[in-house]
Symmetry: C2
Subunit: 135 residues, 2 copies
DNA sequence: TTTTTACTTTAGAATTATTATAAACTAGAA
DNA sequence: TTCTAGTTTATAATAATTCTAAAGTAAAAA
């Protein structure tokens, strides 16, 4: 991903390209594979990869702005911490409770044959399949 | 549900039948339909329904003991609070983000035709389907 | 370019959900 | 009854997250 694309991510999220934000964006979006993280794990990765200092609040703010702009998604995981995902396509997850690790499942890997209709005046927004793993 | 059954729930959870615990057990298990709650919502319901006083810690302890004994299940919902469910059968959920309301879906209402195999040395523990609703 | 303005970062305080603690209380055994 | 182990409770502690206000910086205006 080019520098210009990183700036585009920031601009489209309503964020000025500051040193911290550029580092966060580069870390999150300059990669081939999907990345799952919590704010805490992201902070650790940033501390290792960059020389720049990051206040936790900056990471929270930036991640939330990316999420609001649709550049990140949030994953429902039981537990206290919030998990984010750089994969924003419609997809599903394996979850390994032993390691707290999430693994993406492409939407095409899951076929649902039957599903109930939405109640009363509601519509279905999306369907998430969550496969818990054990050893 | 008879009084003896309430006591059975408590005993099988390793809990002595104190006033508070009996009230909580009666409130949770003397009902026909599934009940979804957070510790906070349960506290509010108990305050209305009973004259007994409840420390938050007592509610947390009791609910966790029930969960550990398999009398309650926990639902993955994005957000800070932990949701519990009196339905302990294998089933799925609708989630209405507007109202933060959960609705049960019986396992028979969902048929999955294709699912990926578990990675490396792992096995599938269970599959949860979560249907988000919109208006 | 300088100045100005509006947005940012940051450290630390505040908040929220939950868990731990320790003293006062109680169910059930002896 | 009396005793003992398990309980309740208020409060403190912890953890994740959000808020705040002062100091810093990007980019528009002059």
């Amino acid at each position: 991903m080019k520098k210009e694309d990183i700036l585009k991510k920031l601009r489209s999220s309503g964020l000025r390209p500051t040193k911290q934000r550029v580092e966060i964006a580069k870390f999150l979006f300059e990669r081939d594979k999907t990345f799952h993280f919590t704010v805490e794990s992201l902070e650790n990765h940033l501390a290792k990869k960059t020389t720049c200092k990051f206040a936790l609040a900056t990471i929270y703010n930036t991640v939330h702005a990316f999420k609001k702009a649709g550049h990140l998604s949030e994953v429902d995981v039981r537990g206290k911490k919030t998990y984010f995902d750089t994969n924003i396509t419609d997809h599903h997850h394996f979850y390994d409770n032993e390691t707290s690790e999430l693994i993406d499942i492409d939407a095409s890997e899951v076929v649902i044959q039957k599903i109930p209709k939405a109640p009363n005046g509601k519509k279905i927004k999306n369907v998430e399949v969550f496969i818990n793993l054990k050893n």
